[in-house]
């Protein structure tokens, strides 16, 4: 609790600065939102309509005033404004698309943790053998392969040649398989590397020697004594990456036409739809900061040593 209170100010500051930056930068960006949007709607620039649009959406305010107005609406009414393109509330636009992104992120994370820990353990326990080389080759490939290319290869194989999976869309388990594989493969490779390093590290510790000396079975030594301790860095990585999966799935979402938040944000960026971009960034940053805090707290639960160091520093 004390820890949480200490961390709160810097977390709040991060959210504020991130939102301010995104708000200002978009405000000063070349290309006028009103002009672009009205011209797109009417197929030609109509200056009266543009004027009306600017006044209606309060785009005439100086940047600081605009920001403060926006921020106060966010905090007092939880109102992020309306999208300039669709006219819908930004929060609504986010909530409509978020389940798709969350589903994909969680299933990719689950797949990545499962595959990553399996490969990492295999690599660590059979260190130096043929299996280790295979596992390491797979993880190196996972880190180096471009996600969009892997996605295209899978579509080519499973949708176009074999015809067993839908190439794009959303709604069923079949739709989820390929995006999950693509998004999860890269992460699983990183998890596998961390698991391997961490496991090799732990296996050299004295308490493993002690456990062996007590005559516990190898299985028990590995899974009860070593594995649980080796998991700590893996948990941090997975926790932090959940945040990145939520925001960073832009490429995968666009290949498989997955109706998530990432794709919508990129489109809004091009249309200079400030309320959507600023609002989404604000919500994202809030998520990341909260997830990081949660991971830290979780960390203190599973590792008493960190708890002690924290108190000692007080």
């Amino acid at each position: 609790m004390e820890y949480l209170l200490k961390r709160m100010p810097s977390a709040v500051a991060t959210v504020l600065v991130a939102s301010f930056l995104s708000f200002c930068l978009l405000y000063f960006a070349p290309g006028d939102a009103a002009y672009i949007i009205i011209t797109q709607k009417l197929d030609e620039p109509d200056y009266e309509a543009i004027e009306h649009f600017i006044l209606k959406n309060r785009l005439d305010l100086p940047v600081l005033e605009g920001y403060i107005l926006w921020l106060s609406m966010v905090f007092l009414h939880f109102d992020f404004g309306n999208s300039l393109r669709t006219g819908e509330e930004v929060l609504q636009e986010f909530l409509v698309r978020f389940p798709a992104t969350l589903t994909l992120a969680l299933s990719a994370l689950l797949f990545a943790v499962f595959l990553g820990i399996t490969l990492g353990m295999l690599s660590a326990l059979k260190s130096g053998t043929f299996w280790d080389s295979i596992a390491r080759a797979v993880t190196s490939a996972g880190i180096s392969i471009p996600e969009f290319w892997l996605g295209m290869l899978l579509i080519l194989l499973f949708s176009l040649k074999l015809g067993i999976l839908p190439s794009f869309g959303y709604g069923s388990v079949e739709h989820l398989i390929m995006p999950t594989l693509v998004l999860g493969f890269h992460l699983s490779s990183r998890i596998a590397r961390v698991t391997r390093e961490s496991m090799l590290d732990v296996m050299e510790k004295n308490y493993i020697l002690a456990a062996r000396a007590r005559g516990y079975t190898e299985r028990r030594v590995i899974f009860i004594h070593a594995f649980r301790n080796a998991l700590i860095p893996v948990a941090t990585l997975a926790g932090m990456d959940l945040g990145h999966l939520l925001g960073g799935a832009v490429i995968v979402e666009s290949i498989f036409a997955w109706p998530g938040v990432g794709k919508f944000m990129v489109d809004s960026l091009f249309a200079r739809d400030f309320p959507v971009v600023s609002g989404f960034i604000m919500i994202f940053t809030f998520f990341f900061v909260s997830i990081n805090l949660l991971v830290d707290l979780l960390y203190m639960r599973i590792n008493p040593k960190i708890r002690v160091t924290w108190h000692a520093r007080e």
């Binding site: 810097s10 500051a13 991060t14 959210v15 600065v17 991130a18 995104s22 930068l25 978009l26 000063f28 960006a29 070349p30 290309g31 190196s140 490939a141 880190i143 180096s144 392969i145 471009p146 996600e147 969009f148 290319w149 295209m152 290869l153 579509i155 080519l156 176009l160 945040g243 990145h244 925001g247 960073g248 832009v250 490429i251 666009s254 944000m265 990129v266 960026l269 091009f270 200079r272 971009v277 960034i281 994202f284 940053t285 990341f288 900061v289 990081n292």
Partner: protein, 268 residues
């Protein structure tokens, strides 16, 4: 290790392609020849031709130039900026450290791709802007790494004795601290070239990086989507090229990294 020699050979080949693309490519990469459009690989066109009849092998070789120089520039700027800020933050501490680390915290609080997207959205999609966008997120890793090792090294006795001898801060940073913190940063930069090349291709694929008709791997893949079913060779070769290039840079970076880590433990 045999694997590392292969990686080194591939990286050397990529560098040669990047420096002298015209020597290696059999055709002009932008030569349109609609009579020979969408030909499958043959002796005349080893990787086949695309929808405009352009030779894919030539385009892939010229693509190495775009990706390699952009990747090196991104890693280079990130490396230089991050190392400098890391040194300053670690050595001086206090407000300088606070400032740098707060910026680092904020940049780390969001996924890099989102920040890069914002910058591209503001500056407009082009290759130089993509380089700026990726470098402005990329320096953070170096700053953290270098700051950490600087904090350790500055407590060493040789730094204290240098200070007692009246050396200036600049001299101490340059002659005593920098050489001790730079090796892992160089290994990271090698790994970073690989990931920068991956990001460039990904952003160009989304239409946010290099623009057609530049022979760039990401764009080639983007353009190949329409022909995926009828002419899959359009997507196989550029993708394979990205994969092999990034794989080799990563393998090289890893072996540099573990070599220096090894020396590090010997010194303890």
């Amino acid at each position: 290790m045999r694997g590392n020699k292969i990686a080194l050979a591939i990286v050397s080949a990529i560098i040669l392609f990047a420096l002298f693309p015209d020597v290696f490519s059999p055709y002009d990469p932008n030569q349109i020849n609609l009579d020979r459009a969408l030909e499958t690989p043959s002796l005349k066109h080893l990787f086949g031709t695309d929808n405009f009849g352009r030779d894919i092998l030539s385009r892939v070789i010229h693509g190495a130039r775009v990706s390699f120089f952009a990747g090196v520039t991104i890693a280079g700027i990130s490396f230089a900026l991050g190392t400098l800020l890391g040194l300053i933050a670690g050595y001086y501490g206090g407000p300088a450290d606070e400032l740098v680390m707060r910026v680092v915290d904020i940049l780390l609080a969001m996924p890099g791709i989102i920040i890069a997207l914002i910058i591209i959205g503001i500056l407009g999609p082009s290759m130089p802007n993509l380089v700026v966008a990726l470098a402005s997120v990329g320096w953070v890793k170096y700053a953290r790494l270098v700051r950490g090792s600087t904090l350790e090294i500055k407590e060493e006795e040789f730094v204290e004795s240098a200070r007692a001898l009246g050396c200036t801060d600049f001299y101490i940073l340059y002659r005593h601290i920098l050489p001790n913190v730079i090796s892992p940063a160089i290994a990271l930069a090698t790994l970073d070239i690989g990931s920068a090349i991956l990001h460039i291709a990904g952003m160009s694929f989304l239409g946010l990086g290099a623009q057609p008709p530049t022979p760039e791997w990401g764009i080639m893949l983007r353009e190949s989507i329409a022909f995926m079913e009828t002419a899959p060779h359009l997507m196989i070769f550029p993708g394979l090229m990205i994969f092999v290039t990034v794989y080799s840079f990563n393998a090289l970076g890893d072996s540099l990294g573990s070599r220096w880590r090894h020396y590090g433990t010997l010194g303890d």
